[in-house]
């Protein structure tokens, strides 16, 4: 494939740098090597999918990037500064959004959660921003609802709004749509794409769905089991805005999908 590239042409200081990250789980006999020297950089404003079969360590990698887990060796650098704890500019969206949003807080209360602890906004500003975000993620009229009254897709919208409320530069999304139905998934995908381009976000998106990775990203990194985790690093040069009818019908889309599917299948077979 002509679009498959190794690393990007190195700028002076990459926006987000994953430098030789290594991670083992367990100890002694049960010691398992999960990540062995993962190394790549991400440009500001890109939409990168980490694609891989389950158990390849992609969620672990994302948690390390988020500062939620520590690597055994190597480092993550955001704008040149090493990530030791979750940084302000970066927010992690959990796969288990039903657990991540707080049942004792209303939609509005959940969205306000992150803002409350950053002494950046006054009470009135928080209330106003909540309204804006509720509107932005399409939850108008649901501000006073509690999570148990919402569908899975709506709960995920709350989680997204709560993250965006803190004005992050980077969103780290761990299989965010794996638990919602296909219809909801496509509308959430379009929501994320719209927010990504309008807010100038950088998004790292973990998924095991090849078509989802191609549809969303401008770059896909295929991960496989350790050692040599990065199997393929590929640009997706499909035009934005993407469309659920048109984009998947493009020949290039099918080629990308074909190539990535092969790669994953190959990685699976080699296990």
């Amino acid at each position: 494939m002509q679009h498959a590239t190794q690393a990007e042409a190195a700028p002076q200081r990459p926006f987000l740098r994953i430098r030789d990250v290594r991670k083992n789980f367990g100890s002694g006999e049960h010691r398992r090597n999960v990540l062995s020297g993962v190394d790549f950089s991400i440009r500001r404003g890109s939409f990168v999918s980490l694609l891989g079969a389950s158990g390849c360590g992609k969620s672990t990698l994302l948690q390390i990037i988020a500062g939620l887990q520590k690597p055994d060796a190597g480092a993550v650098e955001l704008e040149g500064r090493q990530v030791d704890a979750p940084p302000f500019q970066m927010l992690y969206l959990f796969q288990q959004y039903t657990k991540s949003i707080f049942p004792w807080r209303s939609v509005r209360g959940n969205i306000a959660f992150g803002m409350e602890s950053r002494k950046k906004w006054s009470k009135q500003e928080i209330a106003r921003r909540c309204d804006e975000l509720i509107e932005l993620v399409g939850l108008k009229d649901y501000g006073d609802y509690y999570p148990r009254q919402l569908s899975g897709g709506m709960q995920q919208r709350v989680a997204i709004a709560r993250a965006l409320a803190c004005e992050p530069d980077v969103l780290l999304m761990d299989e965010p749509f794996s638990a919602v139905d296909a219809m909801t998934r496509s509308s959430l995908q379009d929501l994320v794409l719209r927010l990504w381009s309008s807010l100038g976000l950088t998004i790292l998106f973990v998924t095991h769905d090849v078509a989802e990775a191609v549809y969303l990203s401008d770059r896909v990194v295929v991960l496989r089991k350790s050692p040599d985790n990065v199997a393929l690093d590929m640009r997706i040069e499909l035009p934005y805005p993407r469309d659920h009818l048109l984009t998947p019908e493009m020949p290039a889309f099918l080629q990308y999908r074909h190539r990535l599917y092969e790669e994953i299948h190959h990685a699976e077979a080699a296990r």
């Binding site: 979750p86 927010l91 288990q96």
Partner: protein, 251 residues
């Protein structure tokens, strides 16, 4: 038809109580029971009514509830606070867990002699005993509640850059509220038990004192009236508690 319908409601349970009271009444009236220690139900009720109207039972009850309330509040605050810290901070857990496990199995009434020696016969002794008895259910339920908080919720706090104190206050505490209420509800019953015991040991007021005093002066009907009052109070306290719990734990 009608009875079948009634059987599906709480009414049937109330009916059972009435029926049992009637049996009691009949057993005494027909001479089936001749013990002077078992007065007819009607006399107990008449006595109870008089004691309510004259203000004797309300006064005694007030004294008991006051002691119970203070001891229960102290124990609840300590139980929730220490339970949260023990559940969240490994160090506090390591520090206090052995002590808690050592003290917890000790039946509180066994402290009565020490409490009397150290605190005398007054309110302090009773409050201490009530607090000691109600502390552990609150502590243990809070502790296990913290342990059950989903790691995803804590990590959510971390990704939003919350410090440990903020995570404890804004995530762990609300997430643990349902279990805290379970502990508080258990302790409420235990508090009532302990206030009566402490008043039977040494007191000149309170419903426990009243019951014991009635027995000693052969006012058998008054004795039963006191016990009946405790049943009502226990039921009422639990009723109010469950209402409050539903209001606070609404999710």
């Amino acid at each position: 038809m009608k009875i079948a319908k009634l059987a599906r409601t709480r009414f049937i349970g109330v009916l059972l109580i009435v029926l049992l009271a009637l049996c009691w009444e009949l057993a005494v009236r027909t001479g089936f029971s001749t013990s002077p220690s078992i007065p007819p139900m009607s006399r107990i009720f008449a006595e109870w009514g008089k004691l309510i109207v004259s203000g004797i039972i309300p006064a005694q009850l007030g004294a008991s509830l006051y002691r119970m309330f203070i001891g229960y509040c102290i124990a609840s605050a300590l139980g929730v606070g220490i339970g949260l810290l023990m559940g969240y901070f490994r160090f506090v857990d390591n520090l206090l867990e052995p002590l808690v496990e050592l003290l917890r199995p000790v039946p509180t009434p066994s402290y009565i002699p020490i409490a009397i020696l150290l605190l005398g016969l007054g309110t302090e002794m009773k409050v201490f005993l009530i607090a000691a008895a109600t502390f552990f259910p609150v502590l243990l339920n809070t502790y296990s509640g913290v342990k059950q908080v989903d790691p995803v919720q804590i990590d959510t706090g971390r990704t939003f850059c919350l410090g440990p104190a903020e995570i404890l206050w804004k995530i762990i505490l609300p997430a643990t509220v349902p279990q805290i209420f379970t502990g508080l509800r258990i302790s409420l019953g235990i508090g009532l038990i302990m206030v009566v015991i402490s008043e039977m040991v040494a007191a000149n007021s309170g419903i426990g004192y009243f019951i014991l005093q009635a027995q000693r002066t052969f006012e058998v009907s008054q004795m039963y009236a006191g016990i009946f009052t405790l049943g009502l109070v226990g039921y009422f306290l639990n009723f109010v508690f469950v209402r409050i719990e539903k209001k606070i734990v609404h999710w």
